[in-house]
């Protein structure tokens, strides 16, 4: 499909090719550079943990008290996962339902307006969602269970943030399979619900899954909106109304105040986040590949 390198004869072309190759190498080196810097900055922390034999302590619960030289990240890691999972549990069914409505029930005019609204919302900055959550959701929850800033508030705000992503990608996925399949279903005299749930959704599942992963990465990496509504107490959440602190918010909250091992530990948590994203994209690669293969035979 592309032009093979040996076909370069013109001198300008040659120079361009060289220049662009260098640029691309630079872009690829970027990740290395980022990882290198994260390691370099977190090295004092990692190596001192290593030498004192308490390397895996950050995974065990011992609390986050940098002043007392105790760096337990497990509560924050768990909080990150809980918030992400919670947001997905809320947003996935509602988002899917919206996509189904958009694709199969709405008349074209309504669908266009709906889509426009979703696109607009997908572009709203997270800090605006945070502001809204802080001034609307948190006081609402506080009426019921003070102080209001809690795991629940974070989940609600985040799920609202990822809803447009899930709805839009799922709608696109459904649109790409709908045509022929729908006619086939009608010919078989199937009920609409059966067609959608048992034919369309399974056929589009690999693309829907891609959208969900995108939303997961966004939820996991979200900082400001969560920082603003989650209360930021480092603890294992025992209930929905407990305030929690997630990994990203911890960095934002303490980075500008941290020194020495404390600062290094924050870089280490950055490293941890990068590793999690990497795992996520590797997992999605595996799953979509399997999905595609299964799709061929199933």
């Amino acid at each position: 499909m592309s032009w093979i390198a040996k076909g370069i004869v013109n001198r300008t072309d040659h120079r361009l090719s060289m220049m662009l190759a260098v640029l691309s190498a630079g872009a690829a080196l970027l990740l290395t550079l980022i990882v290198l810097f994260l390691i370099k900055e977190s090295w004092p922390f990692l190596s001192s943990r290593w030498h004192s034999g308490s390397w895996f302590d950050w995974l065990q619960y011992q609390g986050w008290y940098p002043q007392e030289n105790r760096f337990g990240m497990a509560p924050m890691l768990l909080a990150s996962l809980a918030v992400t999972l919670g947001a997905l549990i809320v947003a996935l069914p509602v988002g899917l339902a919206s996509a189904i409505y958009l694709q199969f029930y709405a008349n074209p005019k309504v669908a266009r307006t709906f889509r426009l609204l979703l696109t607009l919302l997908a572009g709203v900055p997270s800090v605006v969602f945070g502001l809204w959550g802080l001034t609307r959701i948190v006081p609402l929850i506080a009426l019921w269970q003070p102080p209001g800033a809690s795991l629940l508030a974070a989940i609600l705000v985040l799920s609202l943030m990822v809803l447009p992503t899930i709805a839009l990608t799922s709608a696109a996925a459904l649109a790409s399979v709908s045509g022929e399949l729908l006619h086939g279903g009608i010919a078989l005299g199937m009920r609409r619900k059966t067609q959608i749930l048992h034919i369309m959704l399974p056929a589009a599942r690999s693309n829907i899954f891609g959208g969900v992963l995108l939303a997961t990465a966004r939820a996991l990496g979200e900082t400001m909106a969560v920082l603003m509504v989650a209360g930021n107490v480092v603890q294992f959440p025992a209930g929905l109304f407990d305030p929690v602190r997630v990994l990203t918010a911890n960095i934002a909250l303490e980075m500008s105040y941290a020194m020495g091992d404390h600062r290094a530990s924050l870089f280490a948590s950055g490293l941890l986040l990068t590793a999690m994203v990497w795992l996520l994209s590797w997992g999605s690669y595996r799953v979509t590949r399997n999905g595609r293969e299964a799709g061929q035979y199933g």
């Binding site: 002043q67 102080p147 930021n232 305030p243 105040y257």
Partner: protein, 269 residues
């Protein structure tokens, strides 16, 4: 169109690199304590008006960031709202004002005074309702500061607590955030700079400073030594200050800024 765009692009790069070269001119960067920052902002404005061409950038962070940035050379002067520790003797500090730390509650809270033991009880989670300290039946929302803030360090020191003993419902960053949280939650308790709290109280924010062991937290009492829980506000530099930094520190310590310090409810040294 394209050509214009490319020229614009080049121009911007040239501008950017040119300014890198001239940046060291009349520029001073201060970072650190969010308690001192509003004060220094006002001092800097006056200093700038007397020294045209000089530009002073003030960044809030925390006292540790002030120390950190001065050490890394990111800032010319650090703002530190406590005395220097033994481990920080590589820096030199210049006292510009004094400030107290006071306990604040929501304005509608009837409690007027707490003893040290009560405060310890509340912060360690043993006392969970205002009823237990003579208030109305209202759960207590404990507001603590995030790691690295000198206010937190002084608070822990003063009450001989460790941060791991504290059982908080909300953790906040800056003074302002503490005041905002207390004003929004009826049962909240927090501790902030007296200067900041008095300023906010006078501007109609629904919070109030309550007395501790009978000592009333006002800047006047801090000045007269009638309120124990107080601290230094320092400007910190790496070596002996020279040039603009030296001038600025001298200015901040002089009588020329006394009115600013008082207007911010701090105490001139």
């Amino acid at each position: 169109m394209l050509r214009i765009f490319i020229r614009l692009l080049l121009l911007m790069y040239v501008l950017a690199s040119a300014s890198v070269v001239q940046a060291s001119g009349g520029r001073l960067t201060l970072t650190g304590s969010s308690t001192i920052a509003p004060l220094i902002l006002e001092v800097a404005k006056r200093f700038e008006s007397q020294h045209p061409g000089v530009r002073i950038n003030v960044q809030t962070g925390g006292s540790s960031r002030g120390i950190n940035d001065v050490r890394l050379g990111l800032a010319d002067i650090g703002m530190v709202s406590r005395a220097l520790k033994a481990s920080e003797k590589d820096l030199s500090a210049y006292l510009i004002a004094r400030d107290g730390i006071g306990i604040i509650t929501h304005k509608n809270n009837p409690v007027r005074n707490l003893t040290g033991d009560q405060i310890v009880g509340i912060y360690s989670g043993k006392i969970r309702n205002w009823e237990e300290v003579g208030g109305s039946n209202l759960p207590i929302t404990v507001i603590n500061k995030a790691e690295g803030r000198s206010t937190l360090e002084l608070f822990l020191q003063h009450f001989s607590l460790r941060n791991s003993q504290i059982n908080a419902q909300v953790v906040i960053g800056d003074n302002q955030q503490g005041i905002k949280s207390v004003s929004a939650i009826a049962g909240a308790i927090g501790y902030v700079s007296i200067g900041t709290a008095e300023y906010e109280e006078n501007h109609g924010t629904p919070i109030k400073l309550i007395s501790m062991e009978g000592e009333i937290p006002t800047s006047e009492n801090v000045a007269k030594g009638r309120y124990q829980f107080s601290r230094q506000l320092n400007l910190v530099v790496r070596n002996t200050p020279v040039g603009l930094a030296k001038e600025f520190i001298a200015f901040a310590q002089s009588d020329a800024v006394k009115d600013i310090i008082e207007a911010q409810f701090f105490v001139a040294p």
